[in-house]
Amino acid sequence: MTSIETIRLDAALGRDSAVAELQSPSPRIVMRRRALTHPGFLFGCAILLLTILVAIFAPLLTSYDPFGQDLPHRLTPPVWSPKGSWAHILGTDGLGRDYLTRLMYGSRISLTVGFGAAAIAGFIGTSLGLIGGYFGGRIDAIVMYFVNVKLALPGILVALSLISVFGGSVAVVVVVLGVLFWDRFVVVTRTVTQQVRVNDYVTAAEAVGASRLRIILGEILPNVLNQIIVIASLEMAVAILVEAALSFLGLGIRPPTPSWGLMISEGRNFMFFQPYLVTIPGVAILVLVIAINMLGDGIRDITAPEGRN
């Protein structure tokens, strides 16, 4: 064997042997494949997207003013009932306001409250969970103390009293709900963080001298994110329901702002003769909440870690 051949053989047996054959497709492709074959995820996505589009383009989709009263045409039934008309597809309420228009504008409230409260709760809860889970020991004990105090608070009652003190604007509802629903974020983030931090890649980052902030945000957070999104979707649904409940009780959003909960509350008086006033916003809440939950479940399934092989 000539020396050149020896070198090539060496190269073939040693370095170059790491050949670039890939064992599996990239995680992005795997996720896309899973997403496109997950009916719950697709349904949830479609409904949520639709609701968001409606909320954004509500003024373009309807010619009515959500606050515009039209007493002569009050309590017009929806188009499918014998006395209904295409002028008011979902009919009008007790003050003659177009119900479809109010429903569309109401979605703005629901989505704002849902996203806003989940974002605030998510920020508080995730930060605490990451800190407690990563540092452990005394710091973790303090975090868990906060969680226990929070769990001991009667959430809804606190929300009621805070809103009755600060008034029922959308901003107040968002902040109050956000500050009250972070406990689940802490529990989940903390547990996952504890599992992730024992991985060698965290030790490797420590060994290259990375700061704690960098390790938490750069190494741990990406591995916790999918769980956070799942919890966020659940909390979003809860926040939407609680806002509806508060508004129904007259303690949330103040009239005449169109909120789905408020619409049910206002429709209550006509419930036996005009049941659609209650059922239409009720169905809207139900469908949106189910869609968000299915979306959350879907995200969990899609981003589930792959087996080693």
Binding site: M1, R8, L9, A11, A12, L13, G14, S17, E21
Partner: protein, 335 residues
């Protein structure tokens, strides 16, 4: 004892059909040890699970012949198989921590097998459990019986696993990497135990491992698997002394052997990695990593050729040249 012909296991995956095990023949006799050796993904564990009837639900299994003590298992129903499992044929897993149930005492789990197969009364079951725990070298078996798996060390757990498989006096034991999770000194002790018990009860042992040292010391016969296929089989002395398949030779060259390989010298690594098992099989599965590959290797699947009594190899070459320096190999590298 155990006779298998044409065992095939296929798994449906998103990208197609994964050929986990392709057309494997094997047999093991009373008192004999057959080692199945290969690297991860070669199908050795799938073969074991198929023999035990424990394949995952997604997997499909076919066999031309599958006989235990002359009884046909291909025709046997699910219930008959379940009745044999743990009774006539038993399995030892790699990680005793995950194969023992953490919420029951070890005595409970051992007796449960005995009772499930209707071997005798509760009292007899307890006596047998204590007897076997003592047999596998566990001191104070009576008090150990009351313990939970987490209270035992890894070595003790594996001993308990072995005792457990012996509860119904099986005639075939399949051990899947039984000592991989153990320390070296414990490994030798557990292997000793396994081999002593095998001799005493005249059992057939199918030992699945990736460790050639274990194979050399334990096996009567060895079966080398690669990419779901048997690539070489024969008596262990013959295979180790003169491997007929380049993969077997590669494996033997890879491991540093005290007193044989020059410390610090380059080890004969096998370049590349295992091919994908998804889709139709073409040519020799090993050709991409083989230093002796010929154009013919890619043409059609290579059959397992009889190469002497009890000896077979899945290679077109009749002998392996000493210096690997053939054309197609370098052509492959240049590409």
């Amino acid at each position: 004892m155990l006779q298998v012909e044409g065992l095939t296991v296929e798994i449906d995956v998103p990208a197609g059909i994964l050929h986990a095990v392709s057309d494997v023949d094997l047999h093991v006799d009373q008192g004999e040890t057959l080692c199945i050796v290969g690297e991860s993904g070669c199908g050795k564990t799938m073969t074991a699970l198929a023999l035990m009837g424990l394949l995952p639900r997604r997997a499909r299994m076919r066999a031309e012949r599958l006989e235990l003590e002359g009884r046909d298992l291909v025709a046997a129903g699910r219930q008959q198989l379940a009745a044999l499992r743990g009774d006539r044929i038993a399995m030892i897993f790699q990680d005793p921590m995950t194969s023992l149930n953490p919420v029951y005492t070890i005595g409970n789990q051992m007796e449960e097998i005995y009772l499930r197969h209707g071997k005798g009364s509760r009292k007899e079951a307890r006596e047998r459990a204590e007897y076997l725990l003592a047999k596998v070298g566990i001191a104070a078996p009576r008090s150990r019986r009351e313990q939970y798996p987490h209270q035992l060390s890894g070595g003790l757990r594996q001993r308990v696993m072995i005792a457990m498989t012996l509860m119904c006096e099986p005639i075939v034991i399949i051990a899947d990497e039984p000592t991989t999770a153990l320390d070296v000194t414990i490994q030798a002790q557990v292997l000793h135990l396994l081999s002593d018990l095998q001799k005493e009860y005249r059992m057939a042992l199918v030992l699945i491992t990736h460790d050639l040292g274990v194979v050399a010391r334990m096996a009567d016969r060895v079966m080398v698997m690669y990419a779901g296929q048997v690539v070489e089989t024969g008596a262990v002395e013959d295979v180790f002394a003169a491997p007929m398949h380049p993969y077997t030779k590669g494996l033997l060259d890879c491991i540093p052997v005290p007193g044989k390989t020059q410390p610090g010298a380059k080890l004969g690594a096998i370049p590349g990695m295992v091919p994908s098992l998804v889709g139709a099989l073409e040519g020799c599965q090993f050709r991409g990593r083989c230093a002796y590959a010929l154009p013919a290797c890619a043409a059609s699947p290579v059959p397992l050729r009889e190469r002497g009594p009890g000896r077979a190899s899945r290679c077109l070459l009749d002998s392996i040249p000493n210096a690997p320096a053939t054309g197609p190999f370098f052509a492959g590298v240049a590409r």
